[in-house]
């Protein structure tokens, strides 16, 4: 067993009342001895959602560093993380002009305990299209940290999907620096909390280019004693005229002992922007429950259907049939409360 470190992760881009405990999260990580990973300089200063402390922890513990480079016009298709499930990894993706790449990693419930820290950094050149999928259904003894940072160039499109469905605690974050003209970032998160899982998220979009666009969407369901924090921040920086951002979080609460905290931020010092966020937190729509039950579904089945209908659009993006099935099976098992 290594020494335990308490890291400040998922920092809010601006501070608010300390008593809310939302300004950052404390993440306990076990330090192991490992040599400092060699990170090419172009990837060094990319801001991530989980923040500096997490990045420097992963950089000094990573047992696996992979660099993926897509040349001009190249289409690398779907790249699967062959080391998925190891303790600590760093994936660096550089997508050249007009290139395409999809990277996906999934840690399954064969991982029962320990900790997994995964960091992906992306540099997307002009018109590049990059998709990153981080998914996990690990067992209830495992601690997860999924972090992401991207720099998005002219007319490039970067997409991040995070599916956090298991673990003792899962911390996840993403940050996109929209530097290019018409740079676009889409982020979708699904999360599932049950037993005493702790979930903690932070997403930040930094708009500096003109006509940049972002969409951040989270769907979650909380059961048991789950405790979740979600931070979603759009930062419109002076000069990012005609940029647009949309952010939404929908949370379904199923347990009187679950706790949900959400803080959607808009920071803005540019006049010519259009930003909107919305959050909806609460119990499942009664009319929907009634409708489904009138068709013969039990309350439990109706609940499952409601949750899966929100999760499926994201699960469907995972480019691996077996993993999709595993996720469905895992959700079904966990929601089967009858």
């Amino acid at each position: 067993m290594g020494e335990q470190n308490i890291l400040k992760v998922n920092p809010l881009p601006t501070l608010t009342w300390n008593h809310l405990m939302l300004n950052f999260a404390n993440m306990p990580l076990e330090a192991a001895s490992s040599k400092k990973a060699d990170i090419p300089s172009e990837f060094k200063d990319i801001e991530t959602g989980m923040g500096r402390e997490f990045v420097s922890f992963v950089e000094s513990h990573a047992s696996y560093v992979r660099i993926i480079r897509a040349g001009k016009g190249e289409d690398l298709g779907v790249i699967k993380d062959e080391k998925a499930g190891i303790a600590s990894e760093i994936i660096l993706i550089e997508a050249g002009e007009d290139s395409r790449v999809t990277f996906y990693t999934h840690a399954s419930d064969s991982v029962q305990d320990g900790q997994i820290t995964r960091l992906v950094k992306v540099i997307a050149g002009p018109r590049a299209q990059v998709t990153v999928i981080q998914s996990q259904t690990v067992g209830n003894g495992c601690l997860v940290g999924d972090d992401f940072g991207a720099v998005v160039g002219d007319e490039a499109k970067v997409r991040l999907i995070q599916s956090e469905l298991g673990g003792k605690a899962a911390f996840a974050g993403g940050c996109a620096a929209l530097k290019g003209y018409k740079a676009d970032f889409t982020e979708e998160t699904i999360y599932f909390g049950d037993e005493s899982r702790r979930l903690d998220f932070s997403y930040v979009t930094r708009h500096t280019g003109k006509k940049t666009t972002t969409s951040i969407l989270a769907n979650g369901a909380l059961f048991g004693n789950a405790d979740k924090v979600y931070r979603g921040s759009m930062d419109f920086i002076h000069g990012c005229s005609k940029s647009k951002g949309r952010e939404a979080e929908n949370v379904l609460l199923f347990s009187p002992t679950a706790r949900n905290r959400s803080i959607p931020l808009i920071l803005c010092d540019e006049e010519d922007v259009d930003g909107q966020h919305a959050a909806s937190i609460g119990k499942i729509n009664k009319d929907l429950m009634y409708y489904l039950q009138s068709r013969g579904l039990t309350e439990n089945q109706a609940r499952q259907l409601a949750v899966e209908s929100r999760f499926n659009p994201v699960i469907d993006e995972i480019p691996d049939e077996a993993v999709r099935e595993e996720i469905h099976a895992s959700l079904e098992r966990r929601m089967n409360l009858d």
Partner: protein, 469 residues
């Protein structure tokens, strides 16, 4: 629409930019020490418990750090704030008895005039002291008490005051609440007996006249079960080039089935640090309504808080904040749902212009036992130019599955299409913009008494250069 629209001289800053030389009878040293607090207490003839309360608050103040969030408070040096300035007068019940220089100030602000016309009672505070309090006979006959806090401490309601004073906002709440506990002075006490419906609003007017001074008035309002009150608060100060501090405290107790509407138009001058704390406790079936307009001050931290303690209690918050040049106005609301089937609605608008900074900050907490709670938040921010800034920082903490919490926020500018549409009807570009901004503020204006609404509109037009309509 608001049911009563009394006429009250309003909020146009230009009419506040006069000041009379006043001769203060007593000034403390600039810094803050136990000796000063003792001195204040002695001067005010405090009961013993209050003297101890002040000293304890001072201790807390000295141990508490300034907030690490929010707009910068660097310009505020407490060691240079003259915490206590008492005008050269004692409290009057007749306007004619108020000394001329102070009377002139309030007459220019239209206070006695408004009282005659349309208010149930008026209190006026000049710097640290209440200089005038009056309540109409018919209202007094209903058993309504409206008096200054110092009198309340010794009057027939002394025990009630002792029980409630800084009970909702304890000195440990934050540094400036502690400061308030130590040096508070003036303010109003209102008591509305059970079942009494006060048909016309009570108004309190705060005027800070001395340069570099602080105002720390305490407002305590108790609305007993089934009663109704509309309380209006206006604040202003002339311009000085040194910082002034306002750290008032408002505590509102809304009894079972009672309803309290608390309206504020704040137009402190732009050297003011407005660090005010307002809090309401609402019992079963009670209703708390806030209408809040923030136009003045250099820096504001203002988040009226409502604790929905009783079952089926309700809170409504309607606010507007307009930050112009040199202003950073951090405003919003807080609500804690504790009772079952409680509901809250927060609707805010903010406008940033000429380098002004608006921050909307809020927290909505749904407690464990607040089964059936509903909360909705709506905030719209308008950016009028690219020099300005607007942030939205809403927090939600839900600890109960049987609840429904919604939040929506929008930020943007006035669209070119909307301006063209209005210009195609003959309005100049400036008028078109001003009209759209007035329209944006209308949901707040319509909650205000007519004269306040008119003045608020004038204030907006004044801020919108070149508008003529």
């Amino acid at each position: 629409m608001a049911e009563e629209r009394p006429e009250i001289q309003g909020v146009n800053q230009s009419i506040y930019d006069f000041r009379y030389e006043t001769h203060a009878s007593f000034e403390t040293d600039a810094g803050l020490t136990p000796e000063i607090v003792e001195q204040i207490s002695k001067e005010k003839n405090d009961p013993d418990w209050m003297r101890e309360f002040r000293l304890k608050s001072l201790e807390i103040y000295q141990k508490t750090a300034v907030p690490n969030w929010g707009p910068p408070l660097d310009g505020l040096n407490m060691d240079q704030i003259i915490t206590y300035v008492r005008p050269n007068t004692t409290m009057r019940g007749k306007w004619s008895e108020v000394p001329d220089d102070i009377k002139n100030t309030f007459e220019r602000l239209g206070i006695p005039d408004a009282e005659q016309k349309s208010l149930a009672g008026v209190g006026a505070q000049y710097d640290s002291e209440v200089v005038y309090h009056n309540v109409k006979d018919e209202v007094a006959r209903q058993g309504v008490v409206y008096t200054d806090m110092e009198s309340a401490l010794r009057g027939p309601y002394a025990d009630l005051v002792k029980e409630k004073f800084m009970h909702l906002v304890p000195p440990t709440d934050h540094k400036f609440a502690a400061l308030h506990g130590a040096v508070w002075s003036g303010g109003s006490f209102v008591y509305v007996p059970a079942g009494v419906h006060v048909d016309i609003p009570l108004q309190s007017y705060f005027r800070l006249n001395a340069a570099g001074a602080g105002q720390f008035e305490h407002t305590l309002i108790i609305v007993e079960p089934g009663a109704y009150l509309h309380f209006i608060e206006g604040c202003s100060a002339p311009k000085y080039n040194v910082a002034n501090l306002h750290a008032g405290c408002v505590e509102l107790y809304v009894g079972k089935g009672a309803r309290l509407r608390y309206s504020t138009i704040e137009n402190w001058s732009k050297n003011m640090y407005n660090l005010n704390t307002k809090r309401a406790l609402v019992e079963d079936d009670g209703i708390m309504e806030w209408v809040s307009g923030s136009f003045g001050s250099h820096i504001s931290y203002l988040y009226p808080m409502t604790i929905l303690q009783g079952n089926d209690s309700h809170m409504d918050f309607t606010g507007i904040t307009f930050a112009g040049k040199t202003q950073a106005l951090d405003t919003g609301a807080k609500v804690v749902h504790n009772g079952r089937n409680t509901s809250s609605h927060i609707s805010t608008k903010s406008i940033s212009k000429d380098g002004g900074v608006c921050v909307y900050r809020s927290e909505v907490i749904i407690g464990k036992d607040a089964v059936g709670a509903k909360s909705s938040v709506n905030c719209d921010s308008l950016m009028l130019d690219s020099k300005s800034r607007s942030d939205t920082i809403p927090a939600m903490d839900v600890r109960n599955a049987d609840s429904d919490v919604g939040h929506e926020a929008k930020i943007g500018r006035i669209s070119d299409e909307a301006i063209f549409y209005l210009m195609s009807r003959g309005l100049s570009e400036e008028d078109a913009r001003a009209m759209i901004v007035s329209g944006f503020a209308e949901p707040v204006a319509k909650e205000l008494p007519l004269e306040y609404a008119v003045e608020m509109n004038n204030l907006i037009k004044l801020e919108m250069d070149g508008s003529t309509f």
